[in-house]
């Protein structure tokens, strides 16, 4: 037990998280809560590889800008003054414009998951040349969006998120922490660390659909092994 507590404490420290940001790392802006249909409205502004990847990663439907479901998101953004309509086109404002820009111009996508049988923390981290946003799903199809200022490689950010989840989730074994990197062509690579009932740590990794057999590793509550595996 003592070992476990120290791991968890150390994990929290190494993750350098702020109190609020579950994704780890410093955040530039305040958290913005966006409904899934609002994110759908943003990715519907442009159809390209980046928005295709964002739709898949965030589990958004294929609806276009004119569908009633997308319109619900547009209407909500307008009502919140998070967007206006200029010349018939949706024009997001301020921080939401930054998020829209990241979604439309993204070049890197990852998904980080920390999970036990009872609970899980999940995040998508999306990066464009302009910036990085971490999106965490909440109940009722609401996403917490956290603008991130840090320039660390996305797998490092993902590993920190897993370390946060390892520290924050109620203690339960097995714990599984994974980071999945999505490429522009939709191919993926994953790394998974599992902590078993008897505190044995294993690592598996590989391209999507071809994950290696789990191999024992030294306990690493920072989970940076996920990042180095995917580097």
């Amino acid at each position: 037990m003592g070992d476990d507590m120290s791991h968890r404490t150390k994990g929290m420290t190494m993750a350098e998280t702020t109190v609020e940001a579950p994704g780890g790392g410093r955040t530039d802006g305040a958290r913005i809560d966006l409904a899934a249909v609002e994110l759908l409205a943003l990715v519907s502004m442009r159809r390209n590889t980046a928005t295709d990847r964002a739709r898949a990663l965030l589990g958004l439907p294929e609806d276009g800008i004119d569908s009633p479901v997308t319109t619900a998101g547009v209407g909500s953004l307008l009502a919140r003054r998070l967007a206006t309509v200029a010349e018939g086109r949706l024009a997001p404002l301020g921080p939401v414009n930054e998020i829209a820009s990241i979604l439309m111009n993204a070049v890197e996508w990852i998904e980080a998951i920390g999970t036990t049988d009872d609970a899980s923390n999940v995040a998508a981290v999306i990066r464009s040349p302009e910036g990085t946003v971490l999106l965490e799903p909440r109940p009722y199809d609401v996403w917490n969006a956290w603008p991130l200022s840090q320039g660390d490689p996305l797998p490092v950010i993902g590993a920190r998120f897993v370390a946060s989840a390892f520290g924050n989730l109620p203690r339960s074994r097995p714990f599984s922490g994974s980071v999945r990197v999505v490429a522009a062509d939709a191919t993926t690579r994953s790394a998974v660390v599992t902590v078993s009932d008897d505190e044995a740590w294993t690592l598996a990794s590989g391209p999507g659909g071809d994950i290696s057999e789990p191999a024992p590793i030294t306990p690493d509550p920072t989970f940076q092994v996920l990042a180095t595996t995917l580097a």
Partner: protein
Amino acid sequence: MTNQTAAPDLRTIVSEFTAFEITALLSVIDTESAARTLELLHLPAVEKDSPAVGIGLSTLIARGKITTTGGLMPVGDAARLAGLGGTATTWIETVTITGDRKSVAVFVSAPEGTVFLEPAPFGLWLVWPVKPGVSAERAAAGYVGAAFEKAAGAPFGGSVEATRLEGPVRTAAVKVDDAGTWRLQAGELDRPEPPRQIAADPTFAVLAEAIAG
């Protein structure tokens, strides 16, 4: 420092909700009033666990208009709209036509107060308060009067249709032609009296009287 001549900031009194949000707020209320409010707004009646309700709840929660701690609870203007829509006893659909310009508003009146809703682009509804103590009938007539004032002499039509929890639906319409002649046609729905000429009445109080319950 006060500035008494400044116009009120409309954004402080008007609320905006998506059609999905209104559907979500009212579909979870098990009253005849809630169902009728949805019907009068031409919003579909849907099951509580339908995707439409889910979408409305999602944006309401993201907007902070429903809190989720200890169950779902509408707050602020969402709570007021749900409260009035769920207890409403009178609905007045109001239409004004100036040339090819048409405005529509639905007044929703409950013992606790009255609001009116206007459809806006992108599936939004604007929700406006009606001054306490003003009847829905008077407020609807006032809405028509304001549109008539803007018409500035152009041919104009204004109609009101009052639906109540009990009793017949009553309608009344005033037409002002380009010769400045005023005509009123009123009566129960589908059984209107023939149009008759009336004296000019820019207050349109005649509409309020015609649909009084």
